[in-house]
C-alpha cells in the first residue's frame, strides 16, 4: 500500500525539489547532446577539411569546428541544425503545404491511428478466439508468429499493389501494413491477460453457473486490462513504424516516410534527421497518451497507484 492519494499540488512543492527529482533525466539528456555534438564534429570534419583544402584556404581549428557545425549537407547534422530545420519546416509554410513537416506528420499520424485501431481490435478478437477455442491456439498461433517473421519491407509493396489493383489507395493500405505489425503484441498480451484469472475466480463463476460471455465480460476482460495497456504501449510505436515503412517502398507523395525518402534522394541529411526527430516526438506523445489513459483506468479499477 504505497502513497495512494498524493494531493496535487503538494503543500511542500518547490521548483528546486522538482529539478532535484529529475536530475538523472537532465544528466542523461546532457550527455546525449555532448555525444551528438562530438559525433557531428568528427563525422563532418573530413568533409569540411577537404573543402578548405580544395579551395586552398588556410584554416584554424576554430574555423574547422564552426564549419562542422554549419555544413550544408553534413554526414551528421548538429542538434541545433535539426532544431532550426524543424522550426522552419513547421512554421515556415502554410499547414497544407507539402513543404510543411507538420503536414507530413499528420498524413503519417492518421494512417498510424487507423492502423492502430484496426490492429488492436483484430488483436483482441484473435486473443478472445484463441482463449475460447483451444484448437485455434494450435492451428492459428504458428501462422501468427510466422507472419511476424516475414520482413515488412517485403510485404508492404505487395499489399500496396494488391489494394491499388482493386482501386484502394492512400491511407487505407498503409493502415493495413501498420495493423499487420501492431496486432501481434496485443494478441500475445491479451491471451496472457484473458487467461490470468485464478482458478478460484473461475470456479466462483462456475458456482453461479455464469455463461461464457459473462465469464469473459465480467472476469476475463477486466483481469486482462493491465496486460492490454502494456501491449498497447508496444503496439502504438510499432504501428507508427509500420506507417512510415509503408510509405518507403511505395513512392508515397506525403508522410514522414516520403519525407525521409526525398531527403535521402537529394542528400538533405538535415531534413532526414528532422523527420526522424519528428517521428520520435510523435511516438513519445502517443505513449504518454496511452500511459495517461492506463493510469486513469487503473485508478477507476481500484489499483493502489
Amino acid at each position: 500500500m504505497t502513497s495512494s492519494a498524493v494531493p496535487w499540488p503538494r503543500a511542500n512543492w518547490r521548483p528546486t525539489a522538482w529539478v532535484g527529482e529529475h536530475t538523472p533525466i537532465f544528466a542523461v539528456v546532457a550527455v546525449l547532446f555532448v555525444l551528438w555534438y562530438l559525433a557531428a564534429f568528427f563525422m563532418n570534419a573530413p568533409l569540411v577539411r577537404d573543402a578548405f583544402e580544395r579551395n586552398e584556404v588556410k584554416y584554424t581549428f576554430g574555423e574547422l569546428v564552426a564549419g562542422t557545425m554549419e555544413a550544408k549537407r553534413p554526414v551528421v547534422p548538429a542538434p541545433h541544425q535539426v532544431a532550426v530545420e524543424l522550426y522552419d519546416s513547421i512554421f515556415g509554410y502554410p499547414l497544407n503545404s507539402p513543404r510543411n513537416l507538420a503536414y507530413h506528420a499528420w498524413v503519417t499520424l492518421s494512417a498510424t491511428a487507423v492502423g492502430f485501431a484496426i490492429g488492436v481490435i483484430f488483436g483482441i478478437v484473435l486473443a478472445i478466439l484463441i482463449v475460447h477455442l483451444r484448437t485455434l491456439e494450435k492451428s492459428l498461433l504458428p501462422w501468427i508468429i510466422c507472419s511476424q517473421m516475414v520482413p515488412i519491407l517485403a510485404i508492404a509493396p505487395i499489399i500496396i499493389v494488391v489494394f491499388g489493383a482493386i482501386g484502394i489507395r492512400g491511407l487505407f493500405p498503409k493502415s493495413i501494413i501498420s495493423a499487420y505489425l501492431c496486432f501481434f503484441p496485443v494478441t500475445i498480451g491479451m491471451v496472457k491477460g484473458l487467461t490470468s484469472p485464478d482458478p478460484i475466480e473461475l470456479d466462483l463463476m462456475r458456482t453461479w453457473s455464469a455463461n461464457k460471455l459473462q465469464v469473459l465480460w465480467k472476469l476475463r476482460w477486466p483481469a486482462s486490462i493491465p496486460y492490454l495497456f502494456a501491449s498497447l504501449k508496444v503496439s502504438v510505436t510499432i504501428s507508427l513504424v509500420g506507417a512510415i515503412v509503408a510509405e518507403l517502398p511505395t513512392g508515397a507523395q506525403a508522410g514522414l516516410g516520403a519525407r525521409l525518402l526525398s531527403g535521402s534522394y537529394y542528400g538533405q541529411t538535415v531534413q532526414i534527421w528532422a523527420a526522424l526527430v519528428c517521428a520520435a516526438v510523435i511516438a513519445t506523445v502517443l505513449i504518454a497518451i496511452i500511459d495517461a489513459i492506463a493510469k486513469l483506468t487503473a485508478q477507476r479499477m481500484g489499483a493502489l497507484t
Binding site: 473461475l202 462456475r206 458456482t207 453457473s209 455464469a210 455463461n211 461464457k212 479499477m301 493502489l304
Partner: protein, 291 residues
Amino acid sequence: MATASSPPTATQAAERMTPSQPATGAPRAANASALTVDARGVSLTFQSRDGAVEALANINLQISDGDFVSFIGPSGCGKTTLMRVIADLEQPTTGTILVNGVTAGEARLKRQYGYIFQAPALYPWRTIERNVMLPLEIMGFPASERRERMQRYLKLVNLSGFERKFPWQLSGGMQQRASIARALSFDPALLLMDEPFGALDEIVRDHLNEQLLRLWDQTGKTVVFVTHSIPEAVFLSTKIVVMSPRPGRIIDVILCDFPRARTLEIRETPEFIKIAQRVRSGLRSGHSYDE
C-alpha cells in the same frame, strides 16, 4: 475451460430462480427432514503422472435440511474434494450424488448453493458493493433489487459503510465477510464453506464463528463446512464427519446436539470435551498407519 453451461440453460435457470424468496428459515422448517445432500457410493480417482490417486473412496453421506455439517481431517483426506463434488466442480468417478433432490449438476445450474472459498477471491477491480452484486448481475436480478440485497447482506455481516471500498482497503477478516455476503446475496439454501476462516487469527476466527452460527440460526440454511480445527468443528456443527486420507474416506460421523444458539462458553463443558476427544481419536485412528 470448465464452464459447461450453455447460455440458454443459464437463462432458464435464472428464470426458475425465485428472487423474492424470503431469507428466513420459516418456510424450510416444514420439510426439515428432507435431504439436502445425498451421496451414495461416491468415489473419485484423479489420474496423475505418478498413477491414479484415489481422492475419495466409497463415500456415503446424508445431510438433512438445516444441518450444520463439518468435514474434518488432515490435509489430503479429500474433504475439499468431497465439497467440490457436492458443488459439481468435480465429477465423481462412480456413485451418485443428489443435491436438493436433483443431480449436483442441475443444482449448480439452478444456483442452489453458495460456495465460500478459503481465500475471499473478491475481484480486485470491483468495490465491495459491486463484488456482492456480481452474482446477482449474472443471475439477472433487476438493478434495484441488486442494490437492496447488497445493502441487506452487507449489514448482516457488519460491513455497512464499506460499500465503496476496494477489497485491498479491507482486512482479511472483513474481506472474508464480504465474500460471505456475496454467497448469501442470492439466498441459496445451501452454503458450502471451504476453510473460510483458515487464514485468519484465532480471535477474529472465534468472532466470525459466532456470527456464522447466529446467521445459520436466523436463516435456517444448511451449511457444509470444511475445517481442520477440532474446536471449530465441535463448536459449530450439528454433525461432524471425520475423514482420513489415502484413500479419502469417512471414518466417523458424530452428532453434536448442543442448542442451535450456542456461545463460545460451551467449549468449557464436559459434553464439548467428550465430543472433541471422540473427533481426536477418530483422526488418530485414521492416521495410525504412518506412525
